[in-house]
């Protein structure tokens, strides 16, 4: 609508047809609307005061600080902008329209969310899940019907005159409608309706609903072309309004569920912060210091323990450098153990997930028949869902009845009944997780490599063939160097994934996550335990930021490489 009205503003487009149908000229008609709008803004300012009072209530009505501060801030803003907008509309100021639109839009969003909250709409989601559980079969039938409609749409797009899609569409809709009735009967929504009915007596719910409707109507009126003409909105402003309007559902979510949490996380990391509101103390960088503190000390004997370190430090590892024994200790031994584990994991798992992908992609890139089937098969583990996969692998690794030990036994590597306790022994637990990780991810990497293969000029292979190069030479001299950028990218993305290892460990290292004896603890696991079991969310946030910085190092490295490639004209 923005560009269209901009054309109208500049007088290029004839607007006579619309004016003829109305008794008043648009300008006169809007003057009355403008009066209503300015009255509405005074009401909005009053409502903001009421909202402010409600949001600031104390006692058992007191809101938790996050929504409280957010609402208080919003209502201060809404009060000021509402008054300004009322004044601006009276004086037909150019800025009045954007101001009115912004404040009404946000008011509609806030009041709308409040309305939903008051009517228990979010809790009703649980009832919806319950209803779906009771009526799962009709739900599946509805899905079948809707899929038929989708297929019909696709067919109709291919050939609009064919009669089959129309019939299919009708059948699909019919099935969906019948199943819909069946669904409602089985799902029994009376509970949900009654829980909404309980709130009918709440005046706040209706007040919020009224504000929502009012603000939405005001937005609509202000959005019109007549309004744009009345306030002399420029094309640039019109575009900005449209852009923000289209982006807003996304942008609000981005700000509330990404930008704010990101900053808040940094903020929390400077506090000794518990989940509960009590005991929150600013401690500056102490969380970071605690997490990163290391102490190294020379020791006479190889088996020296914590006593050679500063108090509060525990032995992380022993080293033998230049004929001298050294003891490395850390204050947060668990975090450092998990860092050590993840480094070992990275060194083992990343090559195992990347090298087979490089080799297999070279085969799959050939035009032999059946390659697409293999490509699809290799990809499956990366989409199947880590929990299901980990459960199966847990069974495979079982010490007494697992397939791995059985197969090793069959080929004669181990003796029957002498199987390796893969997951409960320190030496093999992490290795088992390396195997699962590589198994899950090599197929994805293969597909990334296949994309890289498309960028290799065919002439290179033709030239190699003329020169009589064998397959290995071609692979070594052409394929691998040409795929250098892809390899870099694949290594970085796989490493970033490996650094965040959590789910596989959570399932496979039961009953003690990270066990046996911290052999498989990972930074994310340590973070989870600190935050949600030890309840120290400030410290856990600091761990999160340390991890973020490590991951960001990889990303930055990748970004630099890509930029270098593109400035030097390479293909990335």
């Amino acid at each position: 609508m923005g560009e269209a009205s901009a054309i109208a503003l500049s007088g290029d487009a004839p607007d006579a047809t619309r004016a003829e149908r109305r008794p008043d000229t648009p300008a006169e008609a809007f003057r009355r609307t403008a009066t209503l709008l300015s009255i509405w803004h005074v009401i909005g300012a009053a409502a903001s005061v009421v909202g402010m009072l409600l949001a600031s209530r104390g006692g058992d009505q007191e809101l938790p600080w996050m929504p409280r501060y957010a609402l208080q801030g919003f209502f201060v803003f809404a009060f000021a902008v509402n008054l300004a907008a009322a004044y601006g509309i009276r004086t037909t100021a150019r800025w009045a329209r954007p101001a009115s639109l912004v404040v009404n839009y946000l008011l509609a969003v806030v009041a709308g969310s409040t309305t939903l909250h008051q009517f228990n709409a979010f809790r009703a989601l649980g009832d919806l899940g319950e209803g779906l559980f009771k009526a799962f079969v009709p739900f599946l039938v509805i899905c079948v019907g809707l899929i038929a409609v989708l297929v019909a749409g696709q067919l109709a797009a291919d050939d609009p005159t064919a009669p089959v899609p129309r019939t299919l569409r009708r059948i699909g809709l019919g099935i969906a409608a019948v199943a819909g009735v069946w669904f409602v009967i089985l799902a029994d929504p009376t509970g949900m309706i009654s829980s909404i009915g309980d709130t009918l007596t709440k005046p706040l719910a209706f007040g919020a609903l009224a504000i929502t409707i009012g603000a939405a109507l005001a937005c609509r009126a202000m959005w019109s072309r007549d309004a744009a003409r009345h306030f002399g909105t420029t094309r640039a402003t019109e575009d900005t309004l449209s852009g923000l309007a289209f982006l807003s559902p996304n942008l609000i979510g981005f700000l509330v569920f990404f930008a704010f949490p990101l900053l808040f996380s940094l903020w929390v990391s400077f506090f000794d912060w518990k989940t509960t509101n009590t005991g929150r103390e600013f401690i500056g960088l102490d969380n970071y210091v605690r997490a990163l503190s290391l102490d190294i000390s020379g020791a006479d004997a190889a088996g020296a323990g914590n006593e050679v370190l500063k108090p509060g430090y525990q032995v992380l590892m022993h080293m033998d450098w230049f004929g001298q024994n050294w003891v490395l200790g850390a204050r947060d031994i668990e975090f450092w153990l998990s860092l050590r584990n993840i480094v070992v994991f990275l060194v083992l798992a990343v090559p195992l997930a990347v090298l087979p992908a490089l080799g297999l992609s070279s085969i799959l890139a050939s035009k032999l028949p059946g390659m697409k089937v293999f490509r699809a098969i290799y990809f499956i583990p990366s989409v199947a869902g880590v929990i299901g996969v980990a459960i199966v692998w847990g069974q495979m690794f079982d010490a007494t009845i697992g397939w791995i030990n059985y197969l090793l036994d069959v080929v004669g590597v181990s003796e029957a009944g002498q199987g390796q306790a893969w997951l409960s022994e320190r030496s093999t637990a992490l290795l088992s997780m390396v195997i699962v990780f590589a198994w899950m991810n090599f197929g994805f990497n293969t597909v990334l490599y296949l994309a890289g293969h498309q960028g290799i000029p065919k002439e290179l292979y033709e030239a190699a063939e003329i020169d009589g190069a064998n397959t290995w030479q071609v692979f070594k001299r052409i394929t691998v160097p040409q795929l250098r950028n892809t390899t870099f990218y694949v290594l970085v993305t796989t490493s970033i994934l490996a650094l965040q290892l959590f789910d596989i460990v959570w399932i496979l290292s039961r009953p003690e996550p990270g066990g046996p004896n911290n052999a498989t603890s990972t930074p994310v696991l340590t973070l989870y335990e600190e935050a949600f079991q030890n309840n120290s969310q400030g410290y856990a946030s600091a761990l999160a930021w340390i991890l973020f910085l490590i991951i960001f190092g990889f990303t930055f490295f990748q970004f630099r490489q890509q930029r270098d490639e593109s400035t030097s004209g390479g293909v990335s």
């Binding site: 609508m1 269209a4 487009a13 996050m66 809790r123 989601l125 649980g126 899940g129 319950e130 779906l132 559980f133 799962f136 739900f139 797009a157 640039a236 449209s242 852009g243 923000l244 309007a245 289209f246 982006l247 559902p249 996304n250 979510g253 569920f257 990404f258 949490p261 808040f264 929390v268 297999l360 059946g370 293999f374 699809a376 290799y378 990809f379 989409v383 199947a384 869902g385 880590v386 929990i387 299901g388 996969v389 459960i391 199966v392 397939w403 059985y406 198994w439 990334l448 296949l450 292979y461 063939e465 970033i496 789910d503 989870y528 969310q537 946030s541 991890l547 973020f548 960001f552 990303t555």
Partner: protein, 401 residues
């Protein structure tokens, strides 16, 4: 490497190539085969060694077949006897004899059977009486190694053929016996079934929400020249670099304060906004020629008309891609539900979470856990197989993980 050669060497290379591919495919698929076969097994069968891909159950015969009343009878194979025998009695007194010419062989007889010869023999330092016993019509010398109790059996094919035997009654004969009831039990199970429906609900809501917000946002970034667009777009791009771990704690705090802990809303609302999806849609919209819209603009169509009537139908491939990614993300997500649905109340759990708790809690329902795991893995695999085209192309170009 589309180099084509001919001759026996080329054939060998080709066979070896396919050999490698098939071998890798087996390694990839084997755990899935294990999952499916295990999900069809009886609980006892899962814990038997050696592991087997064939679901087996204790074979039984109806009691009526042997002219008896009661439950179906488990069957066994007896040493030294052909045929299948049904267990009709337990704790029957049995004498265990060992022939003197083959001390490894065990013959189970009635304690009253056998006739003392009066002679004795020293076995492992103990003096034992020598008996004459009848075995299959032959009379042989044996000593009675112990008196014990065992089972009484009837030949399944010949009810008159009664035998006593010393076999491990815990290991009955087995036959092919899949147990599809595992799946129906999961379906109706209050815990697993409910979390399955929650997963479906959450996934649908997330996918639809992501599509709507991404289409709108992507269009704004692609086609509307508004103030601050480039800055915002950079922020969106940068946000893709931030790992989710950084957001977990503050998002948890936010959900706690809004009162959405243990609520499905916490699994849906924060995830219907996706920077990646917005970016994906924006890239696609940018690629659509502007001339297509210009005609509509001349007709005074509004931007939303243009978006929904012209751009969206053109953007089907991008929408399918985004829907696929959204589906996989929402269906498979585990860490966030683990954090946010943290009470004992199973009402808000999703499938991955329930599977992880059930799998860890006990092994009594392991067959149901496996059936649940198969149910959890099937939809994403199917979606991938059907939407492969979008999927493979896009993972390759964007590298989303």
């Amino acid at each position: 490497m589309s180099v084509k050669r001919k001759g026996p060497k080329a054939t060998m290379v080709r066979v070896a190539t396919y050999g490698v591919l098939v071998l890798v495919a087996i390694v990839v698929l084997f755990p899935f085969v294990v999952a499916v076969t295990t999900s069809l097994k009886d609980n006892n069968d899962i814990f038997s060694y050696p592991p087997s891909l064939v679901p087996e159950q204790a074979s039984t015969v109806p009691a009526a077949q042997l002219g008896l009343d009661g439950d179906p009878l488990p069957t066994f194979t007896l040493p030294d006897r052909d045929g299948t025998f049904a267990l009709v009695g337990r704790d029957v007194p049995i004498a265990e004899f060992r022939p003197l010419d083959d001390l490894e062989r065990v013959i189970a007889l009635d304690p009253a059977a056998g006739e003392k010869t009066g002679a004795t023999i020293v076995i492992d330092g103990d003096e034992e009486d020598v008996f004459l016993i009848d075995v299959d019509g032959d009379t042989i010398e044996a000593y009675r190694s112990r008196l014990t109790s065992g089972g009484e059996f009837v030949n399944v094919d010949d009810p008159t053929d009664v035998a006593i035997g010393l076999v491990n009654l815990a290991v009955p004969a087995e036959e092919f016996g899949p147990r599809p009831a595992n799946f129906t039990e999961v379906w109706t199970d209050k815990e697993l079934g409910r979390s399955l429906s929650n997963t479906v609900l959450v996934t649908f809501a997330v996918v639809i929400g992501q599509l709507v917000t991404s289409i709108l946002g992507g269009y704004a970034f692609a086609r509307i020249d508004f103030k601050g667009r480039n800055g915002l777009f950079l922020m969106y791009l940068g946000s893709v670099m931030v790992p989710f771990v950084v957001l977990i704690i503050p998002l948890f705090q936010l959900m706690l304060q809004v009162g959405w802990l243990d609520n499905l809303a916490a699994l849906i609302i924060p995830f219907i906004f996706t920077a990646y999806g917005t970016f994906l849609m924006r890239q696609f919209f940018v690629g659509i020629p502007k001339e297509i819209e210009e005609a509509a603009l001349l007709d005074n169509a509004s931007r939303s008309t243009i978006l929904w009537k012209i751009m969206v139908p053109l953007a089907r491939p991008a929408i399918a891609t985004l829907a696929t990614f959204g589906f996989l993300y929402a269906w498979n997500s585990f860490f966030w539900p683990l954090v946010i649905i943290n009470s004992g109340n199973p009402e808000g759990r999703v499938l991955a979470l329930t599977l992880s708790t059930l799998g860890g809690r006990s092994s009594t329902d392991i067959n149901l856990v496996f059936a649940g795991a198969v149910i959890a893995m099937t939809p994403p695999i199917l979606v991938f197989l059907f939407a492969q085209r979008y999927f493979v192309e896009n993972s390759a170009s964007s590298g989303l993980k």
